[in-house]
Point group: C2
């Protein structure tokens, strides 16, 4: 079957998965966890093939670390699935129950989104997390992982798929595509695929967004900022900024821009310079910053480095910091360092980002760290799910109306009146 | 100012409106209501100009009825605003409050979407409803109404805008554009406009969707179906079908396709023929239907007539009805007529539409009839708001994280552990 036919088949099976009970879906998760454990040797052997190929192809040590699927990673994914099983059913939840008139009852219930296509990086644990999140939320999923983990993904996917089917889930609940050109075919499946979640580079996500009519959840860039207020606690500044910049530079929630209140710039910039030098972070900044500490002059604050580089700028106050972030940031995650409640509230209320933090590192923007168990991605969209997308972000709702033959004509003519009574 | 500059100015003012208190926004609504009342004569006079022009241009009676803004319509919009004032604040609602670790608190709070562009038909009451819904939900709005109500809209908008500003709302909270070519300019304002809500013909909505990178909320077509089950209560069938087809044929929630269970088709189709003939509804149908009652032969079930025409087809059971609706319908609103609980549940759970009804007319799909006060439109999107879009559909959320200097490094290294405690 080609991708289009698979998507059509999934669309046809999606209502059955949407109607499935939480018991059946949790049972499938339990089967998946034990099947992965039983097939451990086969999975590790496939992973060895991927690692050998990575060596041959001169893949970097950082990427190889992510490719690797060993006992430790297996333990993590199994406990991830077990945690997912304990979470409440995200679908079949009644959000509104209202009697419109006698014998005419309206319910708003959560339902899965339907068929979701997820394109993710070369990490075997990502395949397990994404497929189990989709099944728990009643969604059919088309999975495309990175080519560097092709062998591991094949064995892992076959294991997960067989366990899901054996538990009674519909035949087309999951599918894996492996060829890169199949991504372009997937992009044309509007009507059958309800949502795409691409994970990867800015350029890749932009490409997806510009070449499909299917809604796309996620974010292209992550230009996160930290504003150091004049009321910042000096002791908190360096640990926060260094963690946000260096703890994992390739992450979308790593900080790219540090804004410093002008009134305290002469004290703070030299402190930052010392810490950045020690951490081998290259500093870019405005002419004003350069008068206090030596930096490479720059003016483009849209820049996402994803590396040991940072942009520095002075601002007059929290108001200018908010304006800067709303204009140059990417509405992902931004933080203020301050002990002043008023300035903190101003920042939290007015920065238009999915995450707004006071005195915490931007690196906390993550589904696991928010207690969601896992995430399929982080969304900067304001339409539907925003921030780390866990189970809640994978569902929508439908309205169910239960009548006894009521017609609109009677209400339009005034013969009958609605009474809108919310039921418990 | 051109549209692009206005959108930029609104984007800048949006955070201030997002941070405004419910008292200030309700106060603005109260001012708007009394300003409309005070300016009644001016508004009626402008409306007379529009009506005179409509006469000159030979506008149809149905459209003229919608153009008209008289004492009755004014009473309706005023009571609509008063009702809106009584509703809870849709923003600043805490949806999640969780302690991640000691001194590290995460809140998910509802926030406005930001800047919304609404393009709507020639109905002065629509201008009042949309602008007040947007202000109540803390959104800035760019309004473009139908040209046939240009005079009325100008006076109404000036009245509403002045009252909003006098109440302290930000200067760029509302703007009206009137030239048709400004719509194309609006479509290029991605980055400043967060959402577009077009109301109008299928072709118009499709045009908007295909010519902008801004998310679009709404629906292009409304191919709604009613399935008459073998367990239908005979007395309910004709009133429901006739109401759904004829109560307002131009509406998106009017029924276009009636599916009849084959086992009872010989009894029901002749009944339907008699009722449709009486209501002057032209019948299209399959060869199988034509063997029982005379119909025009057709096979294209994607058809939206928006007129006194209907498609008829026989199906084997509720399963085939669901498959037909999911394939040919537009995921808007679909109904089953049955007294069988199992078939009703099967239909409600598996039809993938924003509204799924049992024994009620599809014409109930409407914000007022759902008790939302008013609506800005009806959405068939599964990403974010679905069905009639009232206040809830005009907000999203952001995550606020309150720390005391916490860094990710401590959690990544295992030095500290999250404890994820949901707070009341």
């Amino acid at each position: 079957m080609n991708v289009k036919d698979m998507a059509r088949a999934m669309k046809h099976d999606a209502p059955a998965l949407a109607a499935s009970s939480i018991e059946m879906r949790n049972d499938a998760l339990a089967h998946i966890a034990s099947a992965i454990e039983s097939n451990a040797e086969k999975i590790f052997a496939a992973n060895q093939e991927d690692l050998a190929l990575a060596d041959e192809n001169g893949v970097s040590a950082a990427v190889k670390k992510r490719l690797k699927f060993d006992e430790g990673k297996m333990k993590d994914v199994i406990s991830g699935i077990q945690m997912l099983m304990t979470l409440d059913d995200p679908i079949h939840q009644v959000q509104l129950d209202r009697e419109l008139d006698k014998g005419l009852e309206l319910k708003r219930v959560t339902v899965p989104i339907g068929v979701i296509g997820v394109i993710f990086e070369a990490r075997p644990d990502a395949l397990v997390q994404i497929s189990t999140l989709c099944l728990k939320s009643g969604n059919c999923a088309i999975l495309k992982g990175g080519k560097e983990t092709a062998h591991t993904n094949k064995v892992l996917f076959d294991t997960i798929y067989q366990a899901a089917i054996d538990s009674g889930l519909p035949r087309h609940c999951l599918v894996q595509v492996s060829a890169h050109n199949e991504i372009d075919e997937l992009l044309t499946c509007e009507g059958d695929v309800d949502l795409l979640i691409p994970r990867g580079s800015n350029a890749f996500v932009q490409y997806i967004m510009n070449h499909t009519k299917i809604p796309v959840m996620g974010h292209a860039d992550g230009v996160c900022s930290i504003y150091i207020d004049e009321y910042a606690d000096m002791k908190k500044i360096i640990p926060l900024v260094i963690d946000a910049k260096t703890q994992y530079t390739a992450a979308c929630n790593a900080v790219e821009t540090v804004l410093v209140n002008r009134k305290v710039a002469k004290d703070i910039l030299p402190m930052l310079k010392e810490a950045f030098d020690e951490a081998h972070v290259k500093m870019h900044g405005t002419h004003e910053v350069n008068e206090i500490i030596p930096v490479e002059i720059m003016e483009d604050f849209h820049k996402e480095y994803l590396d040991l580089e940072v942009s520095l700028k002075c601002v007059a106050d929290v108001k200018e910091a908010v304006d800067h972030i709303n204009q140059y940031g990417s509405h992902h995650t931004d933080a203020i360092i301050t002990e002043n409640q008023e300035n903190a509230d101003y920042f939290l209320d007015r920065v238009d980002s999915a995450g707004v933090y006071v005195n915490a590192s931007t690196r906390f923007a993550d589904g696991f760290r928010y207690g969601f168990g896992a995430e399929v991605g982080i969304s900067t969209s304001k339409i539907h799910a925003r921030g780390p997308v866990g189970l809640d972000g994978l569902v929508t709702y439908k309205y169910k109306l239960y009548g006894h033959g009521q017609i609109v004509s009677d209400y339009a003519s005034g013969k009958k009146q609605f009474h809108f009574k919310d039921l418990d």
